[in-house]
Symmetry: C2
């Protein structure tokens, strides 16, 4: 039967790609209120697709924010297991637009890659699941197992409402295990099982000085410069050896074992310098770049602004300055506690002459880890290997998927992360793309997997 | 004769105010290419006014940038002295617009103040000079002395082309002394002679890291964060005691004498905390706020930007970060040398994993000081006292007027700074204004002064 399904996918490849392009053309930027309608349109696209397959009980569920698309398939019978498939149809903002080589919302294939915002994160990966479900129905008339679909529209804004939905609808959403495709492989065509994810948390620091921008000639020497004050605060939080200098930040961090260091070293990751274009890579003292990115906590300033940013010079002392910070956490770090440590540190080092405000970002998640030898994980590895004809590797990654930690927390069920992205996908950046190989082999992997786990 | 002139100004007060409003309504923002035409219109306004008075040889001189308005009056005869009057008709950008209580380019009088961008810096002060010249001509049929007018349109962008013009047209512009009204008094209705100005210079620091914004989960731990790198660089340039920690920055700085400390302490300046709204004032260790603002060099970050500044969170490692810095200099500090010291410092402390570029701003000027007991200065003090019926005080200020240093440098002639602005004018900020008292008494002061210096 696998052959028929694969044949269908092959014969309908062009039509499926066109349908994916239609999906990618909708600018469903969840963080920008101006795209509220587009987010709805993306949800409607999925609703229509699920009804066509057909799934049952297809509905757009109100969440208080952007809607969540839910659907069920129960045709595999009482004996068959039930999987909860999670994905998200919202995307990151596309700015800075001028850095894109093609319109982020007019998908374009160049050199074996499909370029578009969301091509990899996560519309492309959501789509191949739907395509595989379609293929099973059109050829076999049924799916190998029962399926519950949960595709949200708020992942890129921290899945603000999902946690409550998962708790309130525990009965409706409960399944034997969950499958999520919102991650990547360590290299193109290198099957990869993701057994660990980082958690994260964030704060926004605002330094307020004078109540209006001041002429630097009239007031320079009488007031504290908010940007300089912010610089002093930020530089006190991480040193030049990339060690976070916030008291207690590393308390309780699960150490990296020697075995894990070997595992991390074995897996050939991407060339960070080549992929990022930096003069040289820089990592926490005592750890390699791969160890730091996969298994050590990070502290990043995502953005900063204050004063005059236009052409030429404006000789002012600005009234305020703001920095946005997010941290990626590892097992042993409680997001709420880290947020509190960051706030305590900032308040303690804040200089005189200004007022400093620390806003705790709502989005937060604990780190997640699963045992690499779990049966569902092993079957995933086999399915990958069949499709890609290559041994599967096991890695942890620095990314965070809040829903994983929440499902783990609320449903206590195994979660399998089947990612098909690649390091070259430029997630969250200009020129995001997804390899056509991952489109084809990703679908094949899923066909094998559903057949392997159906008992 | 003075009475006739003052009477004319009084009788035509409303019409003159309407004419000033017409001048202030032109958004002649010199730093913004979008306002190029408006800058031309402001120049044309002055050309028309000068021709009406009438002045001779009125012309818009090409400078390579915005035009300079030149005119002459030689009717006072060979024996009378010739003054070169300088001012500027360009203004600072009005942003942030939302902080204005009335349209910056629709002048409005509230509580005895005229609110508009340029009301004080420098259109308002240029205008009262023109009004006084008009008054002399309309009543006496002549001016008390010969006048050369030089009103430029690039002061707010560092008078980029003026230096060359002053050199090339030395013959045409030469005079016995110069008068400039582009400064202020220490308090409203407190006649003030400005005998010292700070020089200034600036640099722009740009830190480049990855060649595109990176997903902080995928690359956090492998690359240096450009914003954090910039924070480390900036925080190394001035400490929390407001002491600039760039090697050699204070070398050769003319110390503040005890006499001068007394002079500075005597003059009641504004309440910095009240005027700026800061929690508390902060100044260089060992100096009062008045000493630091008037007679010690300053270092200010005017603006900073990098990464995501929009709503919500964007978990990226930004590709670059930039900071704009300007310093105010005192006698003994060479602008070029200070720029070099700043660049050397930045290059020395720049961390690994990023490339750091230091752009030296073209605008630069040395500090300026004149002897308080010069005859032309004493006469100015008397004229102020007649108009304001109050003793004149002598101060240095932290502001910089490049043209002063350049005229000093090229023409070696006395320069008299007759300022009528006040500390509450909010120069370069939202809600800039000019006191109506300064409009009236400023004109009266000028009438007295031209009569006093005509021999």
């Amino acid at each position: 039967m696998t052959e028929n399904v694969l044949a269908y996918l092959n014969e309908n490849r062009e039509q499926l790609l066109n349908k994916l392009n239609e999906f990618l053309s909708i600018p469903s930027v969840s963080t920008d209120p101006e795209h509220k309608e587009d987010v709805q349109r993306a949800a409607d696209f999925i609703v229509t697709y699920l009804k066509d397959i057909p799934f049952e009980k297809v509905e757009k569920q109100e969440t208080g924010g952007h809607p969540l698309v839910y659907a069920e398939y129960n045709g595999a019978g009482e004996e068959a297991p039930t999987v909860l498939f999670y994905g998200h149809y919202d995307v990151q903002p596309a700015d800075p637009l001028e850095q894109w080589n093609s319109d982020p919302f007019q998908p374009e294939i160049r050199d074996g890659r499909l370029y578009a915002r969301g091509a990899s994160d996560d519309k492309g990966q959501v789509f191949i699941h739907l395509a595989v479900f379609e293929a099973f129905m059109k050829t076999e008339g049924k799916l190998p197992l029962n399926v519950k679909v949960c595709i949200e529209g708020e992942e890129e804004i921290g899945s603000e409402n999902l946690y409550n939905v998962l708790q309130e609808k525990k009965e409706q959403f409960s399944a034997d295990f969950a499958v999520i495709s919102d991650s990547g492989m360590v290299a193109e065509n290198q099957p990869t099982i993701l057994y660990g994810l980082k958690g994260f948390t964030g704060v926004e620091i605002t330094v307020d000085g004078p109540d209006h921008d001041l002429h630097s000639g009239m007031y320079g020497g009488a007031v504290r410069n908010p940007i300089m004050a912010l610089s002093h605060i930020l530089s006190s939080m991480k040193n030049e050896e990339e060690v976070v200098t916030v008291d207690g930040f590393y308390d309780g961090v699960e150490p990296i074992t020697e075995e894990e260091r070997k595992l991390i070293a074995e897996v050939k990751g991407e060339d960070f310098q080549q992929a990022t274009g930096v003069p040289e890579t820089v990592s926490e003292k005592g750890y390699t770049a791969k160890e730091h990115t996969q298994a050590r906590p990070t502290f990043e300033i995502n953005g900063i602004y204050g004063g005059y940013q236009g052409e030429g010079t404006k000789t002012i002392i600005p009234s305020s300055a703001t920095a946005k910070i997010t941290c990626r956490l590892v097992p042993g770090q409680e997001p709420d506690r880290i947020q509190q440590l960051l706030e305590d540190h900032v308040k303690r080092v804040a200089p005189s002459g200004v007022t400093v405000d620390v806003k705790k970002e709502k989005l937060s998640a604990k780190a997640y880890k699963v045992e690499p030898d779990h049966p569902l994980i092993k079957k995933a590895a086999n399915s990958y290997t069949k499709a890609y004809d290559k041994e599967t590797v096991f890695v942890r990654m620095g990314g965070s998927i809040p829903v994983v930690e929440w499902m783990d927390d609320i449903y206590q069920m195994p979660i399998v992360l089947l990612g098909f992205g690649t390091p070259e996908d430029r997630l969250h950046s200009p020129n995001e793309s997804f390899p056509i190989d991952s489109f084809d082999k990703g679908m094949e992997t899923l066909v094998h997997y559903w057949n392997e786990v159906k008992e």
